[in-house]
């Protein structure tokens, strides 16, 4: 376990060093990513103060939700979501062999190889936005905060299951990179409170495809509203991860590399 963590950290540092080989480009990407992610909260501000807003949510609660969303998404995209993109590149070049000749779990190697240094900006931006919102929300309890953090970990787990399914899909249907757009579209559902969706969508995104565990559920927990949704979504995430792992490993078993 220690060796795996050390390897992951080393890979992350290598990827950052790799991006820094082109310093100007790296700096521009970081700033662009940061500015791009700021557009969401600014848009929220405009909607909130020029429309009826989001039912049952104050402005800072919505801001917290979006801060958490950026934190969880930023962490997931930085740490492992790149396996979807990496699967495509690796398979097209027939380079998956290079992963399989390492004495490590291939999924773990894939995660190490696909660290995305640019999403650190999204992750840090999300953290700062969440902290700013928390400071403006009255009576945030420690227990609420802890439950919120646990829910966020499940949110990361949800993204991990998506990464496994989409990566497996790429293994099966190489060059199907349109699935990345689907992935982004699914993720965006979690950017808004559950209350804006119809009841059926609310159930779907809590129990079957529990995207609300990414931000809405942790945000509610932090400002003191804990309900059964957290438990339902957590169980759903565990089931999805188990299915995702099964699918991923079954798929790579059938793998045949490109090139003669």
């Amino acid at each position: 376990m220690t060796s795996a963590i050390k390897l992951w950290i080393k890979s992350a540092l290598i990827h950052i060093a790799f991006r820094m080989a082109y310093r100007g480009e790296y700096f521009i990407s970081l700033v662009s990513m940061f500015v791009l992610e700021l557009v969401g909260p600014i848009f929220t501000y405009i909607i909130y103060y020029n429309s009826p807003g989001f039912a049952g949510w104050t402005f800072y609660q919505v801001l917290l939700l979006q801060g958490i969303f950026l934190t969880v998404k930023g962490f997931s995209f930085m740490s492992f979501m790149g396996i979807v993109w990496h699967s495509n590149i690796t398979l097209q070049r027939g380079e998956f062999d290079l992963t399989l000749i390492k004495p490590r779990n291939p999924l773990f190697m894939f995660i190490c190889q696909s660290f995305d240094a640019e999403d650190t900006a999204k992750f840090i931006g999300g953290l700062l936005l969440s902290l700013y919102a928390i400071l403006h929300i009255p009576a945030v309890s420690l227990s609420g905060l802890l439950i919120g953090i646990v829910a966020m970990i499940f949110g990361v787990g949800f993204f991990f299951s998506l990464a496994l399914f989409f990566s497996s899909f790429i293994f099966r249907f190489i060059r199907s990179m349109r699935v990345y757009d689907v992935l982004e579209a699914i993720a965006m559902v979690g950017y808004y409170p559950k209350s804006i969706y119809p009841r059926f969508a609310g159930t779907l995104f809590t129990a079957i495809l529990p995207i609300f565990i990414v931000a809405a559920i942790p945000a509610k927990a932090i400002f003191g509203e804990v309900d059964i949704d957290i438990l339902i979504s957590a169980v759903s995430v565990i089931v999805l991860i188990a299915l995702g792992l099964y699918t991923w490993f079954s798929t790579i078993k059938k793998y045949s590399s490109a090139g003669g």
Binding site: I14, D97, I101, K102, K253, Y255, S256, S257
Partner: protein, 326 residues
């Protein structure tokens, strides 16, 4: 001691065929003709510890598939493989810690970073202890003369320099078997020489087993004790490299004082013209079981005035080509 045992190994691939044109492209969206091809068809062989074995075959013969199965990358459809008491695709993680692989066309280095970073990454992946890593890196750095180049970004290195670094990557964890897939592809004659000397040295000193696939038959001639030739998924030759050369065919290169009379030579029995080299010289193939070398010299001494005769073995490439066609 046998280090690799392969029995009845089999691997099939499914591919799809369609006719030409747009209509066929649309129809293929709904129905495709499936074609099953046997890439590896019940092959058996064994390799001794410390052997250097050449794995040869034309494109699509099944050699890369076999190598991928042996290196734990691919699952076969049938048969068994025992390498150092491991089944590569089942015990993959433990097994690959004991092998090294160099792909001539795929790099394990990081394009924008110096090779030394990749070496340290390799150390973490293979959990090599600091002392052993330093000793091995020192040894390989000297053997392959990469002290200066390993600190430059990989993208600035020549192909030969990169390949030397790829070898370091493959050897740092002291593998017992090394698979080399086209290790000298695209290299100049000097770089090839360095690589070949390195392989020989490691093989002699550490008794490391090497399995080499290459289209460069000079690699095979210089390095391999034994050759396995595979064609259409089956082994068509498996013996010592020297055995491949020993047969009754000889090449006779004759240089005349006057212009070559090719029509006359072609009419002679027991000779086959391989190539007219110039207006004054020609290369022939003869079968020494039918005609002795003395007799050959006599035949030409009575005819055109001969300036020089050179007798040699046919190049290995010609013999291999015949095996492919068989």
């Amino acid at each position: 001691m046998k280090i690799i045992r392969v029995n009845k190994l089999r691997k099939e691939f499914k591919s799809y065929e369609r006719g030409e044109g747009f209509t066929e492209a649309v129809l293929s969206l709904f129905k495709r003709n499936v074609k099953i091809s046997k890439a590896v068809n019940d092959i058996d062989f064994a390799i001794e510890k410390g052997e250097v074995v050449g794995f040869l075959g034309p494109n699509g013969a099944g050699k890369s598939t076999t190598i991928k199965i042996l290196s734990g990358v691919m699952h076969p459809d049938g048969g068994s493989v025992n390498i150092m008491n491991y089944t590569p695709w089942i015990d993959r993680r433990k097994y690959v810690a004991n092998i090294g692989v160099v792909f001539g066309q795929k790099s394990q280095l990081f394009w924008d970073l110096p090779p030394i970073d990749a070496f340290y990454m390799h150390k973490s992946i293979f959990s090599i202890d600091e002392k052993s890593f330093k000793t091995e890196l020192d040894k390989l750095t000297k053997l392959l003369s990469i002290k200066e180049i390993m600190k430059k970004p990989t993208r600035q290195l020549s192909l030969g320099e990169r390949m030397r670094c790829e070898f370091v990557m493959a050897m740092l964890h002291k593998p017992k078997i090394v698979f080399l897939d086209e290790p000298t592809i695209g290299l100049d004659i000097f770089a090839k020489e360095i690589i070949r000397k390195f392989i020989k040295k490691i093989n002699n000193k550490e008794k490391t087993t090497f399995i080499v696939t290459s289209h460069d038959l000079e690699d095979i001639e210089h390095l391999c004790d034994r050759i396995i030739v595979i064609n259409e998924g089956r082994i068509v030759f498996n013996d010592k490299t020297t055995k491949l050369k020993v047969n009754n065919k000889k090449y006779v290169t004759i240089k005349f004082y006057d212009k070559v009379n090719l029509t006359k030579i072609k009419k002679m029995k027991n000779f086959k013209v391989v190539k007219k080299l110039s207006d004054y010289s020609v290369r022939l193939e003869i079968d020494t079981s039918k005609m002795s070398l003395n007799e050959i010299i006599k035949v030409f001494d009575n005819g055109q005035k001969v300036e020089d005769i050179e007798i040699s073995n046919p190049p290995i490439s010609e013999i291999i080509k015949k095996l492919y066609r068989a």
